[in-house]
Amino acid sequence: MPEPRIVYNEGYLDEQTKRVIRRALLKAIAVPGFQVPFASREVPMPRGWGTGGVQVTAAVIGQSDTLKVIDQGADDTTNAVSIRQFFEKVAGSRPTTRTDLATVIQTRHRIPETPLVEGQIMVYQVPIPEPLRFLEPRETETRRLHALEEYGLMYVKLYEDISRYGHIAKTYDYPVLVGGRYVMAPSPIPSFDNPKLHQSPAMHLFGAGREKRIYAVPAYTDVESLGFEDFPFEPQRFETPCEVCGAEGVYLDEIVMDDRGAVMYACSDTDHCERRVAERGPARPAENKEVRA
């Protein structure tokens, strides 16, 4: 049997690159919420598809790890499946879809409904790491604003929302104050998930491949969503339960059912939904009727 022509290093990246990323991660953990620049490498996927997350995962994963990858909460989308298989192949990690079994969870958009526990690592794929970016286009200036803790600008954005819509209309990538010091963009997770970051027992690592930044929220760190005294932060809320499993207080996806505008609302976290159905059976049709009426 001939040797395969290409042999990848464990975790795809070479050891030096992994050390570079680990150094950036250590610095990020030491200064929660601070964006650490790093030399973003090429990985076999286009920028904007989660290259930052893949590099962070590659730097922390090993053969003893179990990896879960979610995209919009779902384990079975193309991107999630291919990243999971990629690490199975290059890092020898075990794949899983179950939140409670995973040691590393790479995600775009969601934090799983199942509460995270100590020892788990969340890896986020971040498109725009700079919360002030669309308010202040100059990188030199935003760095200075972070260094001097001048966050008035961030509140201008919230002010504009309230004066226009009567409430803070930002529902994803909602800015947070980490450890009482740095304002951070929690990647595009819905504001529904923001409270899960506060004092979370898991480690949260954020990688932005295109923007070449890494930042982190270590376990048990204060994460406060910004707001005004008279218009405090309010996470999104859903009136109806999931129509598949009947769960309440979870993040729901709108699913278009036909071409006459009928929709159904179901858990965005597919793992949570499937396990709930397996335990208790599907939601009763009566509940469905009520919801649709």
Partner: protein, 258 residues
């Protein structure tokens, strides 16, 4: 005026662009509540002087001291953090072009509220109320509070910029040709507004202008600049009615007398 210490004390100050000085050997004291006009022709170093006083340009020679509490502090010795704190809490800067001083796509209310939020205001209702108050003071209709200044006329933008610079109660305001881009009738109203606000709030103002009429109308004292140096200074009425330097005489006589 307490008479004990000036607000700003400038001694032999100069800023160099490479080997040549943009302004040099400037000496003056600015007292609380005083309006100082800096006049001169284009290229005479007025804006360089203003930039240097406001710490946007370096002080390459001499020193500029600013009163903090009961002592005068050398501005060049302050850290960037301290200078920026002064900008947030004690200094305003009204640009010649409102586009430079406003966020054109943030609403008028947001523009006025930004300095308040930068200073830690976190109550939407309070911020909104102060924005409304200031819009009324600078004569902008209240129903424009949620409109972006991009939709405002030149005069309204300039008034909005003034409101944004005064809302946090600064002690010292720098103005760089605040009226020069506006037509004459709007200029007169704006000057009137500036004069009454300055008197009401007891502000110190340093205003740069090439228009002697502006200096006459709102300033107590005037510095005349030419080729980067102050060639004459004194009470505005004295400088304009009895100019002593040859250049000032030329400048004054070049105005049409009405």
């Amino acid at each position: 005026m307490s008479g004990s210490l000036p607000l700003l004390s400038v001694a032999n100050a100069g800023h160099a662009y490479g080997a040549t000085f943009g302004c040099r050997g400037v000496d003056f004291d600015l007292w609380p509540g005083e309006v100082l006009a800096i006049v001169g022709e284009s290229g005479s170093g007025k804006s360089t002087l203003l930039g240097m006083l406001s710490q946007r340009l370096s002080v390459d020679e001499g020193e500029i001291r600013y009163r903090q509490g009961k002592e005068l502090v050398d501005l060049t010795a302050l850290s960037e953090r301290d200078v920026r704190r002064l900008w947030r809490t004690e200094w305003g800067f009204v640009h010649q072009h409102a586009v430079d001083g406003l966020r054109m796509h943030v609403s008028a209310g947001g523009n006025i509220g930004e300095p308040l939020m930068a200073n830690g205001a976190r109550h939407f209702g309070d911020i909104r109320r102060q924005a409304e108050e200031w819009l009324a003071r600078v004569e902008i209709p209240l129903d424009r509070i949620d409109d972006a200044p991009a939709t405002f006329s030149g005069g309204m933008r300039q008034r909005l910029q003034i409101a944004r610079n005064l809302v946090f109660g600064p002690r010292l305001v720098f103005m760089d040709e605040p009226t020069s881009g506006l037509d004459v009738s709007v200029q007169a109203r704006l000057l009137d507004l500036i004069r009454s606000l300055v008197a009401d709030l007891g502000l110190s103002v340093i205003i740069v202008t090439h228009d002697l009429a502006v200096a006459r109308l709102i300033s107590h004292r005037t510095l005349v600049m030419k080729d980067g140096a102050v060639i004459e200074s004194g009470l505005t009425d004295r400088v304009l009615d009895d100019p002593q330097a040859a250049y000032t005489q030329l400048l004054v006589s070049s105005i049409l007398q009405g």
